[in-house]
């Protein structure tokens, strides 16, 4: 490498390419920026490489993808090389667009309607990954994580799992049975991508459970959502009275009774109110006692002072 103080844009670019291959990304970025300042335009491939360097450690950052996408759309080059990997510009544009959509969808949180919308968007995105990326690897994962196993098909499977999990969350408030079915499908996809799917199995189990409320007799499905176990004592006589019922009102170990959400919340709120009254009463009495004690202490002090 020749030692010269004033390099032209091409020399700086070549130097940057060399530094990228050495794994010296920060230095490479500096050279590329200088190259752009000297001779670059908005369509400069150096701008693409700068954005690529900025992607390191920011694979979940929409703005980083946005910058890269703009640079890719501006360049006239058909492909570029980053390190040892040559990437086609249209492929990268597609994968950036999909990644941005994916991050936006995954960041959607809120009411049931929003969660349902999130689920549907993830399912559509999964189809795009399958049909438009297919068995191609995701270039960002290949370049920055050295992971060549993440293909469009695999990403589609992951998104289908997450999509159905979102649909389940958005549905469980109105239809726990449907939510359990969505969780079953999500479990299948989790298994396909090598996850254990244990959390899905737990939710399938909970959402599928049905009880008859011990208090009002209504049928409710969805443990932890629409009905709750409450610790209690069930006498043998009461146990007998529930025998043969198709739907149970108590837990398998008979240490808890089931209460539908309405009864559970009604009892909880009323219990809170009663507890609050007792609390206020106790606090009032404590304050009165405190005042009495303070008065007695003050009287005692004045007696002590008078003795002195």
């Amino acid at each position: 490498m020749a030692l010269s103080l004033f390099k032209d844009a091409d020399a700086l670019y070549e130097q940057a390419i060399d530094l990228i291959k050495q794994g010296e990304f920060e230095k490479a970025r500096g050279r590329l920026m200088k190259s752009i300042e000297k001779d670059g335009g908005p369509d400069d491939i150096s701008a693409v490489l700068v954005c690529m360097i900025d992607m390191r450690g920011r694979l979940g950052d929409v703005s980083a993808y946005g910058n890269l996408l703009n640079a890719l759309k501006a360049t006239k080059a058909k492909e570029f090389t980053f390190g040892l990997t040559t990437v086609s510009v249209p492929t990268m544009i597609l994968q950036c667009e999909l990644a941005i959509e994916e991050i936006h969808a995954l960041n959607m949180n809120g009411s049931s309607a929003v969660t349902l919308e999130k689920g549907n968007r993830l399912l559509k995105l999964a189809q795009r990954y399958q049909s438009e990326v297919g068995n191609e690897t995701l270039k960002m994962n290949e370049i920055f994580l050295n992971d060549t196993t993440r293909t469009g098909i695999r990403e589609g499977m992951v998104l289908l799992a997450m999509g159905y999990e979102s649909l389940a969350s958005g549905t469980v408030w109105n239809d726990p049975k449907k939510a359990a079915e969505y969780q079953q499908i999500a479990y299948g996809y989790r298994k396909q991508v090598g996850d254990t799917g244990e959390s899905n199995l737990k939710l399938i189990n909970d959402y599928s459970k049905t009880c008859k409320c011990w208090f009002c007799g209504r049928t409710a499905s969805g443990l932890g959502i629409h009905f709750f176990p409450m610790s209690s004592e069930i006498s043998p006589m009461l146990l007998k009275s529930g025998e043969g019922e198709p739907i149970k009102s108590d837990s398998d170990d008979h240490n808890s009774i089931y209460a539908c959400r309405a009864c559970y919340r009604g009892i909880s709120i009323r219990a809170d109110e009663i507890a609050k009254v007792y609390y206020n009463q106790a606090m009032g009495e404590m304050r009165a006692m405190e005042a009495r004690l303070n008065a007695e202490i003050a009287a005692l002090w004045s007696a002590v002072r008078s003795i002195r």
């Binding site: 291959k21 794994g23 189809q127 098909i153 359990a180 079953q184 499908i185 396909q192 599928s208």
Partner: protein, 507 residues
Amino acid sequence: MLRCKYCGAPFEAKDVEANTPYITCRSCGTTQQRIDAKAYLDQVMDQVRSWVSSAMPGGFSMSQAENVDSIARHNIYVTNVRPRISAEISEYKFAANTLMTNPLFVMPFTTDNAAKPVHTSASAFEFDAKIKGLSPLAVDSNDRKELNTAEDLVKAYALMINNVKLLQEDKPGRYVLMSNNFSQASEMLSKSNEYAPMSKRFLALAHACNGCEKLLNGDPMGSMGHLEKGVSELRDLKDNLFSFPSLAIMYQGVERELSQVSAVADLVRSSSSTGGDPVKTLGALAKISNIQYPNVSNWTILRTKDRNSELFQHLSQALGARSGSGTMLIASGDGDYLFPFWDVDLRYSFVTGALWSKKSVEVTEDILIPGDFPIDSACLTNPASGVTDIFALRPETSILAGLRGSETSISGGEGIGALSETARPGNPGARKIIVPLSTKKEAEHLTENYLVQRTQSNSKLRLSKPYVKNLIYIPCKVSGSSIIINGFGKLLPERIKRTDINQLIVL
């Protein structure tokens, strides 16, 4: 309807009507005495009746259900029956979907134990009978539709459980039974749009099974039509599966089925053009499934079943080349055997020079990997012994060159590139073909492990990007049980020195 006492499947009407003391189940293939089947039916029906009556309010008899007014029946269904049955239906639906993620086809003479249904076929058929027993109570059209769909799914699931058992044992006539089960299941599920892709899959597999049965019965020409139909229908299903997100769960299963059915079809096609016997070849190929691979912790990919499909494809390609209907990449050289090697294109960069002379150099090299490396545990634990170890032969340069930055390479594999470049599409002729026992993914994995190994011992090596290009065949000679290959010089992989021809499959 009489039922099989072994699997619970109802017998076909013509079998029931025939007045023979013995009856054979067309779903699981077991022959039994008619009297035993009758006894089993009584037992099942007793269980169903007892289950149904336990779900009914006291005093209600199912035998008079049709005479009870529809509002009362609906109330009983909603209050007493639905809560109980819907949980079980959901459980069966889940189990059926989980089973569908597995491949439901195997090549002749091979078995597959991967699928593990959570129910027995007898319990699934029994549940189907329970659903049927409850149907008079489903007055509402939605309830009826729900029960009918569940009944079809559970019955199809029960038939698939029988097929899973047939996948596990290589017994004569299993493809007839499987085809019968697939056809029936396909017909049942075709009634519902929800399960249309599953129905298409079963129909395609029924064709594939018919093809295999014909092939095993000595009719390769007759088998081709069925196999090709199976291939095209499975391919069509695979391409469109993601349009049905709830059933795209079958994708990997369908993909593996497609590769296996395609391999059988290719094999029949190549054999027919040479006048060879495809059944004999299939028998030899089945040995691949029985090879015991070493148990090395980071090589779990060797225990995945889908690898066989790719191995069969390589075989199919080799057979095609032998028959003249295709070609294989053969390097120049001497010998009456052709040994498979993975040709890997390796690009790497290293740093040379000091201070202002520091720079990176990009080098492109070729690495060859013996195609039989997975059977050798030494290659799996020490990847350098399974490849042409180019980094072991570093070009001699002066210390000054290292400081000045004038080094051009830290590896020495030029001769290997020249050897692999001689590979051209051709036919093996009379030469014997050694069957590759590794997949492309495994070759990639070995190369990655090798590069990790070398990066740890060589601080100059920075980035590396291996690309497994092709499977090429290099002519070699056999002396005793050893392989003798020329052209590798000092780079001959240690694996080749250890190879015992008796442990390999030779065509």
